[in-house]
Subunit: 188 residues, 4 copies
DNA sequence: TATGAATGAGTGTTCATTCAT
DNA sequence: GATGAATGAACACTCATTCAT
């Protein structure tokens, strides 16, 4: 994972992966018939966003949607930071054209569950009477995107250009913007 | 551009580019000494988001920040759609590790100018008395990110997973969320 | 070695070397990262003119400088003949401009040691009272050159033009000429 | 000539020759159908060692063979120095395997005439009663080689290794060694 | 007569994959 | 199971040669 994240798919040599794993490159071939299988393996082992834990957190949370989003955003940001999720996602995106199956894995393990959580948050806000919302989907997508962006940027262009985003503040604004967007009823 | 967008940097063979251009692969070498130069050429030719035009549009606009953002978002979205900007940016990101100079080109020609426009929008809102804002940067980054996300997604994972975002509605929500975030004073 | 000697550096294809070695061209790449490394390998393996043996021979020799030179000349001539040293040196010279490091290798492993031996011979002659000589260097260079010439010629132009030098007689004259030159005190 | 001498045959690009000649590379093709023809042209125009002049010099010379050789050696050395003959000869040698015709040209225009001059010098010495010599050939070859060596070395390995031979002294020694060799009667 | 755009064969180098030990 | 030597397909890059203008 670390190597794919650092160098991309094509530039990562199997020998290096093997060396890093402390085995010979021949041994890698015994467990993963092709390089693509290796990448698939990485994605499948990719740290899931700990859905259950987050789900409980949402249900138990007492404050406003904005506060919940900020809490959650920070949690995920920390989590993904540790696991260099951003870099892996960039690799997956880059290889989409070549290995479409990867996309499916990514959707099933990451995208769909996270979107579902965002939907749950929106519904929770509606239930609490914060706002009305008939179609949570675009809000969920906006949430996912805004959060994904900061992860992506800080590990990618932001790092190279030396223009890191101060994540804590960004996430606060993101949370408020999302919540406000819900409250403004813009989707009607 | 089309080929890099479709297949990524490594998987795009120079012969294919040449064939598509109706020349032999040797001819490509006469104009671009290396494959990297070819990619840099693409970025440099990557239609700049018509900064001047947008600038004038911002200054002349009469409505609220939310309305301005929505108008602008739709404009850029249409524009980038036509030029498959999303895909190219993904390629650039993927090759950052290998060709760091690309990042600089991207920053100078795309990122910095667009961020500057977002800052201008925020300042315009402040001048109009819509809200107070001491530090427009994170708002600008949030704006850039939210818009970049939909372009990226719809040309990348969204397409492959057959889960395109309905852009018009997304952009409306994005615009309102951004404006609300500004109004909520979350950065203080 | 044989192929470089026969065809020169540029015209020798790695595939041919590989085929001659009974392996595939990829295999060559496992042992020599570049073609230049291959040539350097050849030089390094280029049988050193058995310096120690020659040194002992010089010290133990009883006769005159002319006789010693003739003995030595024949010894080296035979030795280099067997290893097609002449042709390799020509290749090295031809590639000097492109790979200057080769020169260093050649100097350290061939030129300097041999010149040192010639100096030793001159000093031995002085010690024996055959002649006086304050600066052995040009004599050593003349000796090296005269001997190098016959090797070079007989494997290069001489062979192609079908004008081989009869080495035994040439070396006898070379030895006497050198010794006479020393005796004549021409460097004073 | 300068370019071939500097870079060798393969590494010299026709475009560079053309640029140096102030024409376009296409134009070169009009006068020399192939690159090899270009090299042959260079050799044919290669400054001949001014045979006639030297011949007269030999016949008119009054002093000993050693003095004549020293005078001649210096003359040629100066002449070849100016025309970078050494480098050209190295190129020819390097390309012998690929273009054997070149060798023939070289023999006819350079080698044979010069050897003939050396033979003439030896015969002159015999006529003057300096020594007896039944077979001048090996002496001529030794002379040619010793002189060729210093030219070759100083423009090739000697330059790269920063070990130039002080030509004036070398040539004095060479002349005396040759003359002594003749006087010693080593070829009998 | 000269140009320079275009061609395409040729080759060094990389590296995923295989397989005998 | 594990190794690492060997393979060979793939591809970027160079540049002599051609030819329409």
């Amino acid at each position: 994972m670390a190597l794919f994240a650092e160098r991309g798919f094509e530039k990562t040599r199997i020998v290096d992966i093997a060396r890093r794993a402390g085995v010979s490159h021949g041994t890698v071939g015994l467990y993963f018939p092709t390089k693509e299988a290796l990448l698939r393996g990485v994605i499948e082992r990719m740290a899931e966003p700990q859905m259950d834990e987050v789900e409980r957190l949402i249900d138990a949370f007492e404050g406003s949607t904005a506060e919940l989003l900020e809490t959650l955003g920070l949690f995920w940001w920390t989590h993904c930071q540790e696991e260099s999720v951003g870099a892996i996602v960039r690799v997956v995106e880059a290889e989409l054209g070549n290995f479409p199956e990867l996309a499916e894995t990514y959707r099933a393990r990451v995208y769909d569950p996270v979107i579902r959580l965002f939907v749950r948050i929106v519904e929770r806000g509606v239930a609490r009477g914060e706002y009305r919302c008939d179609d949570p989907a675009p809000h969920a997508e906006l949430g996912f995107g805004g959060l994904g962006y900061v992860l992506d940027w800080n590990e990618g262009l932001g790092r190279v250009l030396n223009r890191p985003i101060e994540a804590r503040r960004y996430i606060r604004i993101w949370a408020h913007a999302l919540a406000c967007g819900l409250a403004s009823g813009a989707d009607e």
